[in-house]
């Protein structure tokens, strides 16, 4: 394994690190839930890698994500918008409209024909339309987050969740449960509510096909299905949807080394 460059994405929920070879292929990656002591966690990531490949000398590291400023080992910081666009474009080989649903925010990025960011939109000042919306609701219904999508898809009917506010949606769920509504239709309604918020962002920047998806939330199968229903577009996924920010950062590091 020959690592030529590294990228790290310190998100609000998880930390992802990717190592790529000189051809820009992912040859190593590691993911952990984020630790409040980010600097210590990044050290442990690097130590883990060092044990595997002996030396990290001359391997440039670029950081992205909310915690990127805390990664003192990085040679440079780049925002997650630019990194996600770079990673997805490189992996899929074309531009389009990328939806990235993260723990703390959701982004819609229009990627140009050369992989550049043409436009972007993010949810503002509110957790509605983010992974946290589902996370909170999953906890309220005692459904493990990993199973949420499958449980939602097993629903034979769906209820409408009118609150877009995460906190109020929780109150709405409590009230529905109190009225005897089953968990499955509520879960499906929650997915619909989340995706409608995200699709509104897609519409605000204008959908340039194909529609692409990245971020940890894509492991949830209901997300992809509801996006396709709401947009009437087929959704394409990169091979490692959760690693695209870190991958893009690594690609920038590779380019930096070359220049």
């Amino acid at each position: 394994m020959k690592i030529a460059a590294l990228g790290i994405d310190v998100g609000s929920t998880t930390v992802k690190m990717v190592g790529i070879d000189a051809a820009g292929e992912i040859v190593w990656h590691h993911l952990e839930p984020v630790d409040p002591r980010v600097e210590k966690q990044v050290d442990s990531f690097l130590n883990k890698l060092k044990q595997e490949i002996n030396s990290l000398n001359n391997i440039p590291l670029i950081a992205t994500g909310y915690g990127r400023n805390l990664v003192h080992q990085a040679v440079k910081n780049i925002t997650e918008i630019t990194c996600h666009a770079k990673g997805v474009y490189h992996q899929l080989g074309h531009g389009g409209t990328l939806i990235d649903i993260g723990g703390q925010d959701s982004k819609v990025i229009v990627i140009g024909t050369k992989g550049q960011v043409v436009d972007f939109a993010m949810n503002d000042k509110c957790a509605a339309g983010t992974g946290r919306f589902l996370e909170n609701s999953a906890a309220r219904m005692q459904v493990p987050i990993e199973e949420m999508g499958t449980v939602a898809l097993s629903a034979t009917e769906e209820v409408a969740i009118s609150s877009t506010c995460t906190v109020f949606a929780e109150s709405e769920i409590i009230s529905m449960i109190a009225h005897g509504v089953e968990i499955e239709p509520i879960l499906m309604g929650l997915h619909r509510s989340l995706i409608r918020r995200v699709v509104a962002m897609v519409r605000s920047v204008g959908l340039v096909p194909p529609l692409l998806l990245s971020g940890g939330v894509v492991k949830n199968p209901a997300i992809r299905k509801v996006i396709e229903e709401e947009t009437k577009e087929q959704v394409f996924l990169p091979e490692h949807p959760q690693l695209m920010g870190a991958y893009g950062a690594a690609l920038f590091a590779l380019k930096l080394m070359a220049s």
């Binding site: 925002t79 630019t82 204008g206």
Partner: protein, 441 residues
Amino acid sequence: MGITDSLKYYWNVKVVGQPFLHWQRRQAERRPKVSSRWRSDILSPPLRIGAKTKELISRHYLEGRYANGHRPVAWVTSGGPVEILQALGFYVLYPENHGALCGVRKAVVEIYGEAENAGYSTDICSYARTDIGSMLSGKTPVGRLPKPDLLLACTNICQTVLHWYRVLAKHFEVPLILIDTPFVYTKASDHALEYVKKQLENSIPIAEQVAGRTLDYRRLKEIIHLSKDATELWLEIIGRGRHHPAPMSVFDQFIHMAPIVEMRGKKETVDFYAALLKELDENIDKGIGAVRNERKRLLWDNLPIWYRLRYFAENLGEHGICVVASTYTNAWAELAPLMNLEKPLDSMANTYMHPILNQGTKYKLDTMKRMVEEFQLDGVILHSDRSCKPYSIGQIDQRNLLIQEYGIPALLLEADHDDPRAYSEEQVASRLASFVEMLDD
């Protein structure tokens, strides 16, 4: 008007206050001090005129503090036809300007909290909430605001002012003059102009009665003349942003625009802007830009985020980005050609019908397009202002159309001009950082 109050006014304002402020300004001019927090590595030193701006604003509020009983006092909306009141000798207070000052001084949360505690919704404009909070509690960072003898609200900026000023009228039990300006979709009709003129005419006897004197039309003309002169100078000043590098950023304009809003029709305002223009021209000759190493130039749409002006100036300045033009500061300049002192009331009706907020969204889009071209801009920041709906409506379409036509990035930022609770810095920082990367791409 009482003799004791007049004596108090002369002593506090003329004998003690004004000479002190004058001395303070002279000291600041002789030994200009740059705050240790000023980012001299990325921004040029503050403009010298800043000492004069401070003196003018302080003096304005000092005069207000002792005005009751000495002069009639009027509270007016920012787009209000103030010249008639000036000619009648009113001390004129602009609650919106006061709100902005409270924002800059970071005093808003405590003041509008008073309005919210009294039941005013957080969905109401933060200027209105700040003003009502101040009205109810007397809280202000400027010492004391004078009570109004007359209120003047003009609907050319929004409809909120109508309800806001009714609250003031009820509280202070004083007459309210309402000037209703029909919306200009494409062109102002003759009957609409006539309608506004009629209202202006009707307002004169009410204002005269409160002032206890008759309107002198010669004085009115002089005041319109001074208003026009100052507005023309301001137009020239903001036009200096066309130079590379721009000698003044909009964050400076937001501060130095205070006199054009609240001190129109005064000789000292004309002198002030003449001095500012001179300083900018000197800086242009020396090649001094507001941002050292200016690489990119932006447009700002909508009101400022008053409590974070420095943050934006520094955050963007760090990347060699200068915001050189804004639709907001332009709004106080672009009406200069409409002012005609030969026909005072007709010209006032025409002028006060045409603020940007009383015209269709296409007008704003066209203004932005013109600015992108004339000022050779690389991008646009549109502040979606929770408090100012008339300014924010249409911004998503305006943003998309600017991107389409000019191929430049445009960023929509959600915030509020005076309510820090509707502003999330971490979110703003991440959007600004991505936007900066797009500008460099």
